[in-house]
């Protein structure tokens, strides 16, 4: 089978759920272990960021503060999730050198670890997302929330693929990390995270081409009771198929060389 090693290691990594989920959890645990409030800092920093951005932009765009708060919290938490995965990917193999050099490891376990770590961080932010939506989002429904969670999990394989590609290329070409970090800053401004699309109707084509903008809407629309069309699901499947194809080729061709580049 074409790129069989990719699919074999992918399945093996999936089966090692206990390993990567514990490693992902430990990453968070270590980050906050010596602070008094621990992981609550994730929630506090999101709250401060979202609260202040909402204030600035609701004033700037002359919108209602609380409706902007809902918009910003839904978008920004997801964006942080996207950005952290993309940026952390460039260092994931280098950071885990001490594992990879001592025993035979499946590289995909490290990718799953990264996804787990960021999913756990995102789950912390649900502590804010859920009550703020219940209280201030008039369109919030339980069914919409269930679809929002479902869509979130549907896009995870996309980030596994992207993360693997970035991790391999960045391990070989160390400049790539800097390019990726700068690119993500640029994409942030091109994605309607803290501003609304309706304010920039002239540049609609830009949002159409932006995959992050599409994924943001794909996940967030149900929580705002906006229908996610069948075409959108088909688009996601196509995106997954293309990125899986690309990452499988790169992985199958280069997985033997990754540890040489560390």
């Amino acid at each position: 089978m074409f790129a069989a090693i990719f699919y074999k290691n992918y399945l093996d990594a999936l089966k090692s759920l206990k390993i990567w989920s514990i490693l992902g959890w430990l990453d968070i645990y270590k980050r906050y272990r010596r602070s008094r409030l621990g992981q609550i800092w994730i929630v506090i920093s999101t709250l401060v960021l979202v609260g202040s951005i909402s204030f600035i932009f609701s004033t700037l765009f002359k919108s209602n503060y609380f409706s902007f708060l809902v918009y910003i919290i839904n978008n920004l938490c997801l964006w942080i999730f996207f950005r952290e995965i993309v940026e952390d990917s460039s260092l994931i193999f280098i950071e885990n050198k001490f594992f990879l050099f001592n025993e035979k490891w499946n590289h995909l376990i490290m990718i799953f670890r990264l996804i787990a770590r960021n999913t756990i961080t995102y789950a912390h932010n649900l502590i804010l997302i859920i009550p703020i939506n219940i209280i201030f989002n008039d369109n919030f429904t339980l069914l919409g929330f269930a679809q929002y969670i479902l869509n979130f999990f549907i896009i995870l394989p996309f980030f596994i693929n992207i993360s693997l590609i970035i991790a391999i290329v960045s391990t070989r070409f160390r400049d790539f990390r800097i390019i990726i970090n700068n690119l993500m800053q640029l994409i942030f401004f091109l994605t309607p995270v803290i501003y609304q699309k309706i304010n920039f109707e002239k540049y609609d084509w830009l949002f159409e081409l932006n995959i992050f903008a599409f994924l943001l809407e794909f996940v967030n629309n149900p929580i705002n009771n906006i229908n996610v069309s069948f075409i959108n699901y088909v688009t996601v499947v196509i995106i997954l198929a293309i990125t899986t194809f690309i990452s499988s080729i790169i992985y199958a061709k280069k997985y033997k060389r990754i540890n040489y580049w560390l």
Partner: protein, 239 residues
Amino acid sequence: MALKKSILLRNVSVYYQTFNEKKNSTLKNTLINSIVGSTITNIKNKEVIYPLKNISLEINEKDKIGLVGQNGSGKSTFLRLLAGCIEPVEGTIERTGIIKSILNLEMGLDKELTGMENLRLQAVFRGYDLENTKKFIDDVLDFSEIVNYIYFPVETYSSGMVLRLAFAMATYGSPDILLLDEVVNVGDEGFKKKSLARIEELMESSKIMVMASHDTSIIKNYCNKIFEFKDSSINISKI
């Protein structure tokens, strides 16, 4: 019938790209070659270092192999290759049996975690169930004698304590193929005796053992074959 444990290398070559900007400094290459004993060459205009070139050999049950050679001659690369940490750039390698590699004692430890957290994590990596996890933890605590410090972060340990914990963790269990890289003489005098006895036990229980060491007495005592690394090739001799 159980498969015989073995490692088979066919025309295996391993090279690392040096990522050096100056690719054609031949005087430097000559000097480094004369010091490290491996070959620096150019492939497709990339400067590469060849620790192993076109190696074909077979390692079978009852082989206790000592790896000797200068620093940088390819011993550690060879062990990494056998362990599966790296795959050959050219040629093929077949490994049959459960491999345990102790290539760098501290590499299995996360210093930000406590000793106990490291033990539990290692048990997860090894796929132990609750009962085996308990056995593993009890054994390591008993052997390393650091019970009083096990709930402290490893970064607060003295280097001797780290070594004790790492050694006890790494040497637990009985593999088919045991790979060791300069890890036989560890710790203070008391612990050295204990660790040697444990290594001997491991060597006895494993079907194949490959060990790199600069200490010729250790090689003579524990090995029945010598692989000598020089100029990217391996000379095999019996003891």
